[in-house]
């Protein structure tokens, strides 16, 4: 019997890792953290200005209508759900649902954006009418820019999945882009609450 013990067999290191094992994933978390501060700042500015003004929205500007934005919010949430479904699918290796989910999400994202434009072209005040207009147009505009940019990014990721690049254990690009998509959806909810619900409370 030998006194030496064999060192245990050395495992092989994977090259492709997902989630918190991957630097890229952390990079995306960092970006999201930054954006949360920006959106949080916008919301804080909104309430600050609300407190600084005697009436809010100011005289002559009606409270925003609720119906269209609410439908639109549901649409946005649905697009997020579609992305999550696609994400689940690729983990199971289901290429078809992966592609379908993304197509649905992209379409819903574009619908959201279009309805946004419809909604905003209906208002008879703009950002230069009053600080109220400044902050609400900025909040919406900033978020809409995010929707557009995830849609752009989504198109590329969709092209990649159409070329069959994603595998159950290798889809970091898709995972990260889903993460961001879901963030853009979720961050809309506090904005929605701020702009549409809080004036009615």
């Amino acid at each position: 019997m030998s006194v030496h013990t064999e060192p245990p067999a050395t495992p092989l290191l994977p090259l492709y890792v997902l989630g918190s094992r991957s630097p890229t994933w952390w990079g995306m978390i960092g970006l999201i953290a930054i954006e949360i501060v920006v959106f949080g700042g916008l919301i804080a500015m909104y309430f600050w200005l609300k407190l600084a003004n005697p009436s809010w929205p100011p005289e002559g500007i009606a409270v925003k209508p609720l119906l269209l934005p609410t439908i639109n919010t549901v649409i946005l949430i649905a697009s997020g759900v579609a992305m999550i479904v696609a994400k689940r699918a690729i983990v199971r290796g289901n290429q078809l649902v992966l592609k379908l989910g993304q197509v649905v999400a992209l379409i819903l994202g574009l619908v959201f954006f279009t309805l946004k434009i419809v909604e905003y072209s209906g208002y008879d005040y703009d950002w230069s009418t009053h600080a109220y207009g400044s902050i609400t147009w900025t909040m919406t505009g900033f978020h809409a820019a995010h929707v557009i940019s995830v849609v752009f990014k989504g198109i590329i990721v969709l092209l990649m999945s159409l070329r069959g690049m994603f595998r159950p254990d290798r889809h970091l690009a898709f995972e990260v882009s889903t993460l961001y998509w879901v963030f853009v959806v979720v961050i809309w909810l506090p904005l929605y609450f701020t702009m549409y619900i809080s004036p009615r409370l």
Binding site: P11, L15, R21, G27, G41, L49, W127, A131, W137, M160
Partner: protein, 651 residues
């Protein structure tokens, strides 16, 4: 060895080659730059990018210093007419902006970039292209700002540009403030991407075995700095955008007549502004710790308490922003809260000071130039810190707010708390970067001149503040009796500048004639001293593993009983390929090897992406339409950046 690129799907698990041996030539080819002028713009290596940050930051120090000297000359006597009031307001704004945004933050980011991979045993930063991108934006922002300044269009509302002066074209019709918006906007982006890169690198690329309890204090400091950037800088991005919109698009965020609120600006800006000063101070503390341990020749006492004090300082500093505008008429309850918080934020600093003293106490100190700068740091910073505590006492603050007392405080903490540590660090790491030692004698002279010059310049400004001298005045009347002290201060500032000139001379002289440093001239404890000076492009011939907090002093015993992360890393080492840019990816807390990380290589796209961002920001000074166009261009460059969309990116 043939391939130098991934061809799509690489093998998920590749067994180590049979004939593994470290191959410097191959590594050099893998990690080296591209040839020619293209290589200059495409290089992403952390040493190059980090050094570019450091050198550029230092140039900004000189520029900001020259502005300070012009201001001091103008103030030397009452009613001098050296510069016009118009130029003077640009001078102090440029000085503040340059020092806070273009010198202090980037130069410490540069130190982090250059030193983190070396200290944590990685072959590069986690996102090399992002680092290069950050540098190019920084450079574009600086060039934009200074072009405007030399055209006579410098920003002119002070470095913190309170609204509505800054946000209303009726009050600041010149283009200077648009320039401020653009330049600061770009700089923030640069700082933010650098911060992300630093955090991710520290999280994921530590050498096997380097748990969170084994990272050098310097790394802790950089981590806290980066986290603070991530949570603070977005606020200033927001506020600059709001100012830009007020000026360009006709919004009314800060226009009281239209429902806006000028104090809103101050809240959002200083929510960033206070953490900003600690963003500058924390990495300086990291430098201090690194230098101190080496020259005290003993470990840092109370390592974990010091690390915790950094974190506490980082968190607390987000709760004190109102102390920069106690005088705007805040309800007493708010004043009390922020006064208490501002006092509390001093406690971590007390702990740090005592930890430094304790380390010297238990150490065997060598008093050479870097150590002298540490002494200077403690003396000057403590004086600045106690005036900070005074400023937090609200009624007293009302008396000295916006006076030269504050100017004195801020230079005591900034020069004592950042510039002196920076010089300590430069003396300490210069041999690592260049292979040459800086000259000791010159160094000691520099220290002495700077220390005396500094105190002569700024101590007396406390009294000027009491005498009623408000800051940002371009001149003053003789009957106020401020002439003598201002003269003393001016003379001091030239002495201080002479000290800095000695350093500039020392650098060139030592590069030319300096003594060879060798690998480890100071017999220092951390990993960067285990590689040749200057470090090869691939950094480590073999990826290191770490078994103790001070790996070069105390290698730590390999322990066959336990399969520690370091042991495993040692055995896995041959799996890290040498023909492509790979390094260990490890777990955050324990430094367990988890993966091989493939780092992106040289590329021109970061440069183009920065150009696109510059196009958007610079153009938006003229028309907001440049912004969406710039965004589209940026989008295009992003495609190029991630190309090829082979299977590699799909990982």
């Amino acid at each position: 060895m043939a391939e130098s690129r991934y061809d799509g799907y690489g093998p998920q698990f590749s067994p180590p080659p049979e004939d593994y041996r470290p191959d410097p030539d191959l590594l050099t080819r893998t990690w080296g730059p591209l040839p020619g002028i293209r290589g200059f713009f495409a290089v992403v290596n952390y040493q190059v990018v980090g050094m570019r940050f450091i050198v550029t930051g230092f140039i900004f120090l000189l520029l900001g210093g020259i502005q300070a000297l012009v201001m001091r000359t103008q103030l030397a006597q009452p009613n001098l007419d050296l510069v016009s009031s118009e130029l003077y307001q640009q001078l102090f704004t440029m000085h503040g902006v340059t020092m806070m945004f273009f010198f202090a933050v980037p130069i410490f980011e540069g130190l982090a970039m250059y030193l983190l991979p070396l200290m944590i045993g990685s072959r590069d930063m986690a996102m090399p292209r992002l680092g290069a991108f950050g540098y190019w934006i920084y450079l574009i922002a600086g060039i934009t700002l200074y072009t405007g300044f030399f055209l006579g269009l410098g920003p002119d509302a002070g470095w913190f540009a309170h609204a509505p002066l800054s946000s209303d074209r009726n009050f600041t019709p010149a283009m200077g403030m648009d320039l401020w918006v653009s330049a600061i906007g770009m700089l923030e982006i640069s700082a933010l991407v650098a911060a992300i890169e630093i955090v991710v690198t520290i999280f994921k690329l530590k050498a096997p075995g380097m748990s969170m309890a084994r990272i050098p204090i310097f790394v802790w400091a950089m981590l806290v700095m980066a986290m603070m950037i991530i949570f603070a800088m977005p606020a200033v991005l927001l506020v600059t955008v709001a100012v830009g919109l007020d000026r360009m698009a006709g919004t009314h965020f800060f226009n009281a007549a239209m429902g806006g609120d000028p104090t809103l600006y101050q809240h959002v800006f200083w929510f960033f502004g206070h953490p900003e000063v600690y963003i500058i101070f924390t990495p300086a503390l990291g430098v201090v710790s690194a230098v101190l341990v080496t020259f005290a020749r003993r470990p840092m006492v109370a390592y974990s308490i010091v690390a915790l004090s950094f974190i506490a300082m980082g968190i607390l500093s987000f709760g004190v922003w109102v102390h920069h505008f106690f005088a705007v008429g805040i309800p007493p309850i708010g004043l009390s809260f922020f006064a208490v918080a501002s006092m509390m934020v001093s406690i971590p600093s007390g702990i740090q000071m005592f930890a430094f003293i304790g380390t010297v106490w238990t150490g065997r100190p060598i008093v050479n130039t870097p150590f002298l700068f540490l002494i200077g740091f403690v003396v000057i910073f403590v004086l600045g810190g106690v005036t900070g505590v005074m400023l937090a006492a609200v009624p007293f603050n009302w008396q000295v707010h916006d006076s030269y007392f504050v100017v004195a405080h801020l230079h005591y903490v900034l020069i004592g708390g950042a510039l002196f540590p920076l010089f300590a660090g430069l003396y300490y790491w210069f041999p690592k970067w260049t292979g040459k030692l800086l000259d000791e004698t010159l160094g000691k002279w520099q220290f002495a001149i700077m220390f005396v010059g500094f105190n002569v310049t700024f101590f007396i400004q406390h009294i000027l503040g009491f005498q009623g001298m408000a800051r940002r005045v371009y001149t003053y009347d003789a009957d106020l009796g401020w002439g003598t002290f201002n003269m003393v201060s001016t003379v001091g500032s030239f002495v201080l500048a002479a000290g800095i000139l000695v350093f500039v001379f020392n650098v060139f002289w030592s590069l030319w004639r300096g003594r060879d440093a060798g690998q480890d001239p100071w017999l220092a404890p951390t990993l960067e001293w285990s590689v040749p000076s200057p470090p090869p492009q691939y950094t480590f011939l073999e990826p290191p593993v770490v078994r103790s907090l001070y790996p070069l002093w105390d290698p730590g015993a390999p322990d066959p009983e336990f399969d520690t992360a370091a042991d495993r890393g040692e055995r896995m080492r041959p799996q890290i390929r040498q023909d492509v840019r790979e390094t260990f990816g490890t777990s955050i807390m324990d430094g367990e090897p988890e993966s091989r990380v493939n780092l992106r290589d040289n590329s021109l796209w970061p440069f183009f992406a920065a150009l696109a961002v510059g196009f958007a920001f610079v153009g938006s000074m003229f028309s907001l339409w440049f912004f969406p166009i710039g965004a589209l261009l940026f989008y295009g460059t992003m495609i190029g950046w991630h190309w090829p969309f082979s299977k590699e990116i799909a990982t």
